[in-house]
C-alpha cells in the first residue's frame, strides 16, 4: 500500500473530525426542553420560559403566546403543551409535528388554513408549510432530530 497513513486515532486531523462529529451528535437534541408547559401556565408567567436539557433557558415571546391564545379557548389553552416539537427524520422530504392531542391539530390547521390529518400522533407537513409555521411560531416550536443509529 503506497499511500498508507497512520491509524485514524493517531492522525490529529482525523481525531479532530471525530471530535467534531461526536460534538455534533451531542448538541443535536441537547436544547430540547426538560418539560413542556401549558399555554395557560406560560401566559401567567412574567417571563415565560422553559429549561432545556443542556441547562439553558428557552424564552417564549409573549406575542406568540397571545396569538396562540387567540386561536384557542380556555380549555384548549390548558391542553396545549409548549414548545411544540417538530420531528425531523433523516433522509425524508417531510417533517412531522408531534401531536399529543387535538389542540395541536387545531392550531396547525388554522395556521396553514387547511384540514389536517394525524398519523401515529404526528402531523406530517412539507417544508414550505414548515416555513410558514416557523414564521409565526418561532419560539413556540422546536426541532427534534430523530436519528436512527443502530
Amino acid at each position: 500500500m503506497s499511500n498508507e497513513r497512520q491509524l485514524p486515532d493517531e492522525l490529529p486531523y482525523q481525531r479532530m473530525l471525530q471530535e467534531y462529529l461526536s460534538g455534533e451528535l451531542r448538541v443535536l437534541n441537547a436544547y430540547l426542553p426538560c418539560e413542556q408547559k401549558s399555554l395557560s401556565n406560560l401566559l401567567g408567567e412574567e417571563y415565560p420560559n422553559v429549561v432545556c436539557n443542556d441547562g439553558s433557558t428557552h424564552l417564549f415571546k409573549r406575542k406568540e403566546l397571545e396569538y396562540l391564545a387567540s386561536l384557542l379557548d380556555t380549555g384548549e389553552q390548558k391542553a396545549l403543551l409548549l414548545p411544540m416539537l417538530i420531528e425531523v427524520n433523516p433522509g425524508q422530504g417531510e417533517v412531522a409535528i408531534v401531536c399529543q392531542g387535538k389542540v395541536e391539530k387545531k392550531v396547525i390547521s388554522k395556521i396553514l388554513d387547511m384540514p389536517i390529518t394525524t398519523k401515529q400522533e404526528r402531523i406530517m407537513i412539507y417544508k414550505p408549510q414548515l416555513a410558514l409555521i416557523r414564521k409565526l411560531l418561532k419560539t413556540t416550536t422546536q426541532y427534534l432530530f430523530a436519528p436512527t443509529i443502530k
Binding site: 485514524p8 455534533e24 448538541v27 428557552h58 424564552l59 425531523v88 433523516p90 416557523r134 414564521k135
Partner: protein, 213 residues
Amino acid sequence: MPQLIRVRPTKIELIKLRRRLSLASRIRKIVKDRLSILMLEFLQIAKETAAAREKLLVEFSETYKALSIAAGYHGYIALEKEFIATEQDLGIITGSRNIAGARVPSFELKEAERAIKRYSLVDTSSWLDQTAQLSGKCLEAIVMLAELQSSLELLGREINRTKRIVNALEYLIIPGLQATIKYLYMKFEERDREEKSRLKRVKVLLEQRETAA
C-alpha cells in the same frame, strides 16, 4: 484520491470498518438534514431582516415627519421640555432560543412601560401623541431588527460549521472508509488466489512424489 486508512488486513478490521462506514453515512444524513433546516431558517430570517430594515426606514421617515410637524407647532424649546419629562430606561426582555442547535438571541420590548405617556397631555397637541406613537413603533422595529440581524450572523456561522462537517464526511471520511474496505476485499481475494495456487502446487508435488515412488 481518497486516503487509505492503515489497518491490519483481517476480517475483524473489515467488520469494524463497515460498521464505521454505516455510522458515518447515518451521521451524514442527520447533519445534512440539520443543514437543510438551518438553511431554511437562514433564508426565512434573511427575508424578514430585509423586510424589517425596509419597515424601519419607512417608520423613521414617518416619525421624523411627525416630529418636524410637532416641532413646528410647539416650538423646539417647548418640545424639549416635554422630552426631558418623558425620558425613561428602555425595558427589553432578553433571552435566547434554539434553532436546530444554534443558539440565537431573543429580544422583546416591555409593553407596560411604553404604554405610559409621561408628557403633559394638557400642554401638548395630538401631533406629539402621533410622534410618540410612531417613535414607539420605531423602537419596536429597531429591537426586532437587532434580533434578526444577530440571528442571521449566528446562523450563518453555524451553517458554515455544519457545511464543513458535511464536506469532511462526504469527501474525506466516507470515501476513505470505502476505499479501505475495497482494499481489504481485494487483499482477501488475493489471499484466496494465493491459497488456491499453493494448494495446486502442493498437489502437483505430491503427485510427482507418488509417481517417483
